[in-house]
């Protein structure tokens, strides 16, 4: 789809918004169920958290954060264009501004989660 249509930034922004949205929806389904288990079956919840704290779990945590951050920033961009239609003319610039904020927020967060990843490797091999 992404290769076929060559729709430019607007279509990429749409496709990323949809892909990140469906991914976050999947995690929300899992996350409400796992939090329910805190009360219903705390032992099961703790073993699931044990998986979240493994290297693949932390990689997924990092990807989830990226999906949420992209979806949040592009969602603001959509709201700006919906309620201030003249800004639609600058939809590309707004999308680039999204990526600037994405990197500015993403780099320090990635450093912290990178630390969690290193500790998870130490737990795994230590």
């Amino acid at each position: 789809m992404l290769v076929r249509y060559r729709g430019g930034e607007g279509m990429l922004a749409w496709a990323f918004h949809r892909i990140s949205g469906v991914a976050i929806w999947l995690f929300v389904v899992l996350h409400v169920i796992d939090i329910f288990l805190v009360g219903a079956a705390p032992g099961v919840y703790d073993s699931l958290l044990g998986f979240y704290a493994t290297p693949p779990g932390i990689l997924m945590e990092w990807l989830l954060g990226a999906a949420v951050l992209y979806h949040a920033l592009n969602g603001l961009r959509i709201i700006i264009m919906d309620f201030w239609p003249r800004m639609t003319r600058f939809h590309r610039q707004l999308w680039y501004a999204n990526w600037v904020v994405f990197v500015l927020v993403g780099v320090p967060v990635s450093i912290v989660i990178g630390g969690q990843f290193v500790r998870s490797l130490q737990r795994f091999f230590g």
Partner: protein, 132 residues
């Protein structure tokens, strides 16, 4: 040449009052989630290491105040509305006829179930859980 006019979001629906209401609520819940979800992720995945959290930590510490229980319940309501109404648009775009109505029924059923499960735990979880 690319067009000047481009949309990432759904075009504002005309005609149906309920569709228009959903369109506005999608944007309103999105703004709420911008604050709630990003601060949730910042607190529980950046400021605190998830590896140091468990069921007891949530019961004794995270949910020890009504404020954070109310915060999480509001986030539950907004995220269920936003995520499930978003999936409704995805299903509407990708399917038709009987498959669409089947998937939509399942979608609304799942949303209702998650609302019950999430509300139940955030209201009833005691501040100390027995070791399990």
């Amino acid at each position: 040449m690319s067009s000047v006019y481009s949309r990432s979001g759904r075009i504002k629906p005309q005609g149906s009052r309920s569709e228009l209401a959903i369109w506005y609520l999608m944007r309103l819940s999105g703004l709420g989630l911008f604050v709630l979800v990003l601060s949730h992720y910042l607190i529980l995945h950046v400021l605190y290491d998830p590896a140091e959290q468990d069921a007891q930590w949530i019961a004794q510490f995270r949910w020890s105040s009504t404020f954070w229980r109310a915060f999480d319940w509001l986030m539950l309501i907004l995220v269920l509305f936003h995520a499930f109404m978003g999936m409704r648009v995805v299903i509407g775009d990708m399917t038709a006829d009987r498959l669409r109505s089947l998937l939509l029924s399942g979608l609304y059923l799942l949303a209702g179930l998650l609302f019950v499960l999430g509300t139940f735990v955030v209201v009833t979880l005691p501040n100390v859980v027995p070791a399990g």
